[in-house]
């Protein structure tokens, strides 16, 4: 009897299809997404452990090296204070990632909750939320961020300007809310939601435990896509003098200030930070697109 059971389980193991490794599947199906992930990983490593990677102190002034061209000593050259540009780009990735991740997470999360609530409650609540979303969507993303950052004062906690994160997160909210609402509308008419209502579960429990997990795919896609937007927005605000301040290493800031005075004599002052911003935005956008394609069930049929 025992032998028969063993034989059956062996047969079953042989006949069941092997579950594919999701990472390998992602790499096979989305090679560009995999490449972009490598770029993001390198950025994250540089941002988390800049002291291991950067050859110089990013804030260290060296007047003997003012506007030095790229060389073996300074691979990306130096700026008007003689600071090493490569080191400032490496440390700048920390600023970009902290602000990019935090603002995108904050904006996407609030947007997702608003979108699900809008779809779940429907009626007047849906109407009010959507009109509010319409108003926010009427402003271009940079204009809305500019207004918010100008209206609220700086609050720096552990070297991070919290209000800058809020300013960047606010324009993200309506965009995520609109997309998540569309996904949540189809979930809200599912029988298990009716069952949950019939069981007397609270609205918050239904929203957070039954609906939210089912709109994770669009949420993740929006979240990654908006990291790129947030990085670009942080760079734009810093360039306009409304983001982080000197001498903090930040990519947008590296393009403004002295760079505007010296970019003719020392084009490396703007080329390398510009490339860093482009590469980061490109990588996050590409990764977001690949994730969308990978998670979209229509591409699996």
């Amino acid at each position: 009897m025992a032998n028969a059971a063993t034989t059956m389980s062996v047969n079953a193991a042989v006949t069941l299809p092997k579950r594919p490794n999701p990472i390998l599947t992602f790499i096979r199906q989305q090679p560009m997404g995999a490449v972009s992930f490598v770029v993001i990983f390198i950025m994250m490593f540089a941002g988390l452990f800049p002291q291991l990677v950067a050859p110089y102190d990013p804030l260290g002034i060296d007047f003997a090296q003012i506007l030095a061209a790229p060389s073996w000593d300074h691979l990306f050259g130096t700026d008007a204070y003689g600071r090493d540009i490569l080191s400032r780009i490496i440390y700048g990735s920390r600023t970009a990632l902290v602000i990019g991740f935090s603002s995108s997470l904050l904006g996407s999360s609030i947007g997702a909750v608003l979108g699900i609530a809008s779809a779940y409650f429907g009626g007047r609540v849906d109407n009010w939320i959507q009109r509010f979303v319409d108003i926010l969507l009427a402003f271009p993303i940079i204009v809305l961020a500019l207004v918010v950052v100008a209206a609220i004062r700086k609050t720096v906690i552990y070297g991070v300007d919290v209000n800058l994160i809020i300013a960047i997160a606010i324009p993200i909210i309506p965009r995520v809310a609109r997309v998540v609402r569309a996904a949540a509308l189809s979930v809200s008419v599912m029988p298990y939601i009716d069952a949950a209502r019939a069981a007397g579960y609270s609205d918050s429990r239904i929203i957070f435990r039954h609906m939210a997990p089912n709109v994770v795919a669009p949420f993740l896609i929006m979240f990654t896509a908006f990291i790129a937007q947030a990085i670009l927005l942080e760079a734009s605000l810093s360039f306009l003098g409304l983001g982080v301040t000197e001498p903090t290493a930040a990519w947008g800031l590296m393009l403004s200030g002295n760079a505007a005075d010296f970019y003719r004599e020392a084009p490396w002052m703007v080329i390398f930070p510009g490339v860093a911003i482009s590469l980061a935005v490109f990588a996050f956008n590409l990764f977001g697109d690949s994730l969308r394609d990978y998670l979209d069930p229509r591409f699996k049929t």
């Binding site: 204070y81 720096v156 070297g159 000197e246 005075d261």
Partner: protein, 527 residues
């Protein structure tokens, strides 16, 4: 014959060279001047201000009693005063005023307006700030025997008095306006200047039009002007290059000058001068740990001024290393003496070792603080970046916080800061003027470090009353030594002024101070 021919050729050459120039110098009436102002004034009151942003905004609307003759700087000439006399004992100054002058609202100008203005300057009523109150402390009484005569009687001889009367900050206000509301100049403009106020659009511009009743006949030449607030240097330079603005009268950096010369060529006029302006490191002596002299001295000693000036002069308007009097001027401390004072040593390694020792002794080895700074790119940002770097080298962590002019000044005046980059905005080399900032805070709103020091007050008084130059210099150096040893505040660098104007702009005169010559009365456009 040969001589005659050479002579004739010489005369012809002279006429050819001088002829068109003389024609070009004949002022033309009319036109609108757009110029850039790289900061926006927090209010309109010249008496309460210490930033050029107020003067570049308000000067065209106001007159002063005397003013500097910029063609013969630092000579003084009359503005509202037609003439003046000083009594042999130097205690009585009698001014005869121009007749028929009117304020922009039509009120006739009289000696009562001068009295009301100077009473407000020397003894401001409650709610009014007079930044240079201390410079008028020697005025005992002001008499107005008739509408065109005003007599100032002094308590003691003051060798700087004429310079104080020529200060561009002493805008003359209407006695009628001040009687109705002494604070009104903060928000309302009514002067006797060459231009009448048209509008102030916050964040955008200030506009003025010609005062048809201006008391200097034939002036101003311009129909109108517009001062456009361009806080970003790059935007200002682009506007100058594109012709949207024709001038920026404060000053630009060497790199900005070079860029504009390359871009505008012969259409650009470049004028340079040393500058009666410096940046200072300022400690709030009421806030721990900056109430400890060891901490203040340590932070000042960590700054490599001599090395910094070499680098910063290439990328900013900061240039000369000096004490409390402009380096190179007759009463300045020579370099050989300066290097003996804390913060000016050329042996920076030894100075930083001593700085670390002082911080350790004060229990502040891991000091962290916020450096409060103005968000003007030039030269405040380079100064901030430089200081952060210098202090990091003795293990001090600094957060650099930059803000608009109004909150920046408000924070310093209210004592809501730890360490700041301040500025000493002078209009001449008279030491009394530059030293006023260092007098005890109890009677001096200019003292933003908020200390009281009787020794400093004593040396100030001694130099003020001393007519012997050598002795006066000794007192100034004694004051400087005390100030730097206590480390309350200390000049960081003195500036170098470079002004760019489009060659269409004529009649504007360059000087070592960006506070002077901004009434635009004699400016005209060669179009």
């Amino acid at each position: 014959m040969k001589r005659l021919l050479l002579g004739l050729l010489g005369v012809a050459a002279f006429l050819l060279a001088a002829g068109p120039k003389a024609e070009a110098q004949t002022p033309k009436r009319g036109g609108n001047l757009n110029f850039a102002i790289s900061a926006e004034t927090p209010h309109y009151d010249c008496h309460a201000s210490d930033t050029y942003a107020t003067l570049h905004f308000s000067s065209p609307f106001y007159s002063t009693l005397l003013r500097y003759n910029l063609s013969k700087f630092p000579d003084v000439e009359g503005d509202l005063a037609k003439s003046w006399t000083v009594s042999p004992d130097k205690l009585t100054y009698t001014f005869t005023l121009h007749d028929g002058v009117k304020f922009h609202d039509g009120t006739p100008f009289t000696s009562a307006d001068i009295k009301a203005t100077y009473d407000r300057l020397r003894n401001p009523p409650k709610g009014v700030v007079s930044t240079r109150k201390a410079t008028f402390a020697d005025i005992d009484s002001i008499e107005t025997p008739n509408p065109t005569t005003v007599i100032f009687k002094l308590k003691a001889v003051n060798s700087s008095m004429l310079d104080h009367f020529a200060s561009p900050w002493n805008c003359v206000y209407s006695a009628k306006d001040l009687a109705a509301d002494p604070t009104s100049p903060r928000t309302k403009i009514n002067g006797t200047g060459p231009f009448v106020f048209v509008e102030h659009v916050k964040g955008s511009h200030v506009a003025g039009k010609r005062n048809e009743n201006y008391f200097k006949k034939g002036l101003p030449y311009l129909d109108s002007y517009r001062g456009i607030f361009t806080l970003q240097a790059a935007a200002m330079l682009n506007a100058l290059q594109g012709g949207q603005v024709l001038a920026e009268f404060r000053g630009v950096s060497p790199a900005e000058r070079d860029r504009m010369i390359a871009a505008m060529g012969k259409n650009l006029r470049v004028e340079e001068s040393s500058w009666t302006l410096n940046l200072l490191v300022l400690f709030n002596t009421e806030k721990p740990p900056f109430n400890d002299v060891r901490v203040r001295r340590a932070l000042l000693m960590a700054i490599d001024r001599w090395g910094g000036s070499v680098g910063l002069s290439k990328i900013s308007t900061l240039r000369a290393v000096g004490g409390v009097v402009r380096p190179g001027s007759p009463l300045a401390t020579p370099e050989a003496e300066l290097v003996k004072l804390p913060g000016f040593s050329k042996d920076i390694k030894a100075a930083r070792a001593e700085a670390r020792r002082l911080l350790k002794e004060a229990g502040q080895e891991h000091l962290k603080f916020t450096l409060w700074n103005r968000n003007l790119a030039m030269p405040y940002t380079p100064a901030g970046v430089f200081l952060v770097d210098q202090w990091r080298q003795i293990g001090v962590e600094v957060e650099h916080k930059q803000s608009d002019t109004a909150p920046y000044i408000a924070a310093m005046q209210s004592g809501n800061y730890e360490v700041a980059i301040d500025f000493s905005n002078l209009f001449n080399d008279d030491p009394t003027l530059s030293l006023t900032k260092f007098l005890s805070a109890k009677n001096n709103p200019l003292n933003l470090a908020r200390y009281n020091d009787e020794e400093i007050d004593k040396y100030y008084e001694l130099q003020l009353r001393e007519s012997d130059i050598a002795k006066r210099k000794q007192y100034i150096q004694a004051l400087e030594k005390r100030l730097f040893e206590q480390g309350y505040q200390q000049p960081l660098f003195w500036w170098h002024r470079i002004v760019l104007t489009n060659k269409k702009v004529m009649g504007w005169k360059m000087s070592p101070s960006h506070n002077l010559g901004q009434d635009l009365a004699e400016v005209w456009l060669n179009e």
